[in-house]
Amino acid sequence: MTDPTLPPSKPSDKGLDAHLVVHRDTFRLDIALAAAPGDVVALLGPNGAGKSTALRALAGLTPLSDGGLIRLDGTDLGRTPPEARPVGVVFQDYLLFPHLSALDNVAFGPRCQGVPKAAARELAAQWLERMGLAEHAAAKPRRLSGGQAQRVALARALATHPRLLLLDEPLAALDARTRLDVRSQLRRHLSDFEAVAVLVTHDPLDAMVLADRLVVVEHGRVVQEGTPSDIARHPRTDYIAQLVGLNLYRGAAEGHTVRLDTGPAITTTEDLSGPVFVAFPPSAVTLYRDRPTGSSARNLWRCEVAGLETHGDQIRADLTGELALAADLTTVAAAELDLHTGAPVWATVKAAQTHAYPA
């Protein structure tokens, strides 16, 4: 065996240090992931980006391809079968064993680790108590609500004292109301958790509320990594920009002017040079039916309405033309402008509302 390529992070004997490589047919997952004990890392990405494959590889349910590496607290787990890994998993639809009570579901892990039956059940009862589910201990999973089942699944995963906790779309199976409660409870439990937690989600809100650090995965690769606020302010791909609701462009800066790869230029307040990103929110865009004469905005583009949709109490206009962008405006403004698909408009953005940063 040759030396495996190490991930760009510093090797550490505490926490997770992984280089997940999985080849399958035409798909290739290749991401480096490192986290210290106590960290909550979210893998964020669109469907099919490889997030779930990454999680399965960490759990040992999908074998690593050549070059892959998983080191947890200094121990190499790359070839360890799932049952021998100190890893707990909360599955997307929880996968609570339907024939066992909530208590026996939680006691299952400790029993497999050799804890005697009575002690395992005692341990499980404590976990359910901690999750506020003491009165549901005897209930079968089908009698539990979505939020309760989620907590039982979390208790079941934590009862084995994992050194790595994996959560696959932990809130996806819940309705909007339950989601709010469960999200804040989950955040509390995750911040109490002393080892590494990795969660997978396609929901930016879940990722930003639950995680200390986001790893954005697209097409099997890491496209951006950072704190939630950093990623929200400085998106580097269209996917993230859309998630956080920004118009994002890539271009070359020369002073206050950014010449976009697609042609037009954007004037910014930042003084930069070289490849940069420029971002601005849809609410910063002002639309005119006719070319504005007295406007001080130097960023003026001739566009055409490609689509309209309601977005909260606003209307979001999808524009094409000199510059493709999204613009938010009030219903009244949309009516006054007589906006409809195919309508020509002029779009302006004040330089002060744009934000440029090195690519």
Binding site: A59, E83, V87, F91, L95, F97, F108, C112, A157, T160
Partner: protein
């Protein structure tokens, strides 16, 4: 006010209209074409008539005497014991085999699966001959069983169990394999992440989940074993008290005591109906 009334009336017509139309459609005779209806009815009669005849010609008055004779009881007892034992053997060997076919991937799995189902279509007499060649006193394996362990299977009660298991096990394997394929394998993955070995996951998670399928397969295998004739008579012979099961007794009685044959047949019919009743939710409910 009048406007309101008028709109109410209009709404009535609107809601009442389709309802009336639906009633008319339902009232029309079902449009089953005669070329389908006629053979269907003949087929139904064909299936039911023999059973009806059995009930019509049954020596009801003499029945208590027939059924309390030692010969009948001996055959019935032997049948029940052997069918149950054969089902036990099928469970012990068949469930793991079904798991292997459903959950693992090995070269030639499709071929193995075809071999497992072969006894389903093989004439039972051929099965009996094959068993004799394999496990008979001079058989491929039988000669070693005889000389090393002193075990002789043909023409013994154990031989009846072997013959019945040979014919019945495929039913169980196919039923359990189907249930396993329908069961979500991710429960086994969840068990693995909780530290369960593959066998523990099978025992504590998979087995309880597929229990209904195993039960159905076992009942099916049991019913098949109970009615086994060809392989049994070929491999185990026809010795009253030792290898003469109910179907064999029925066949023998038909030669010299038809009334007894009918009585024995009624017992087997009753058992079959009981099995069907036990499985009614699973097998007789029309898929909808």
């Amino acid at each position: 006010m009048t406007e309101l009334d008028a709109s109410d009336a209009a709404a009535d017509t609107l809601t009442g209209g389709p309802r009336r139309r639906r009633v008319r459609t339902g009232g029309r005779p079902a449009g089953v074409p005669l070329p389908l209806l006629l053979p269907a009815l003949v087929g139904l009669a064909f299936l039911l008539l023999p059973l009806l005849a059995l009930l019509l010609r049954a020596p009801w008055r003499d029945l208590p005497n027939q059924l309390t004779s030692t010969a009948v009881w001996q055959a019935l007892q032997l049948s029940l014991v052997c069918a149950t034992a054969a089902t036990g053997v099928s469970l012990v060997l068949g469930v793991p085999l079904a798991w292997l076919l459903a959950r693992t991937d090995f070269p030639g799995r499709g071929f193995v699966r075809a071999l497992v189902t072969l006894p389903l279509v093989l004439p039972p007499v051929v099965g009996g001959v094959a068993l004799l060649l394999a496990l008979g006193r001079n058989g491929v394996v039988g000669q070693w069983l005889d000389s090393w362990f002193g075990i002789t299977l043909p023409f013994t009660t154990a031989g009846v169990v072997v013959a019945e298991a040979f014919v019945a096990m495929p039913f169980l394997v196919i039923s359990v394999e189907g249930t396993l394929r329908a069961a979500d394998p991710r429960y086994e993955e969840a068990a693995a992440t909780l530290g369960a070995s593959r066998f523990t996951a099978f025992r504590r998670v998979t087995l309880p989940l597929i229990a209904p399928g195993i039960a159905a397969g076992a009942v099916l295998a049991w019913a098949r074993a109970l009615g086994e004739f060809g392989a049994t008579i070929t491999f185990a012979g026809n010795f009253p008290g030792r290898t003469q099961t109910m179907p064999l007794a029925v066949y023998l009685a038909l030669q010299n005591d038809p009334a007894a044959a009918i009585a024995l047949s009624l017992v087997l019919l009753a058992v079959s109906i009981a099995v069907l009743a036990g499985l009614r939710d699973r097998w007789t409910a029309a898929p909808s």
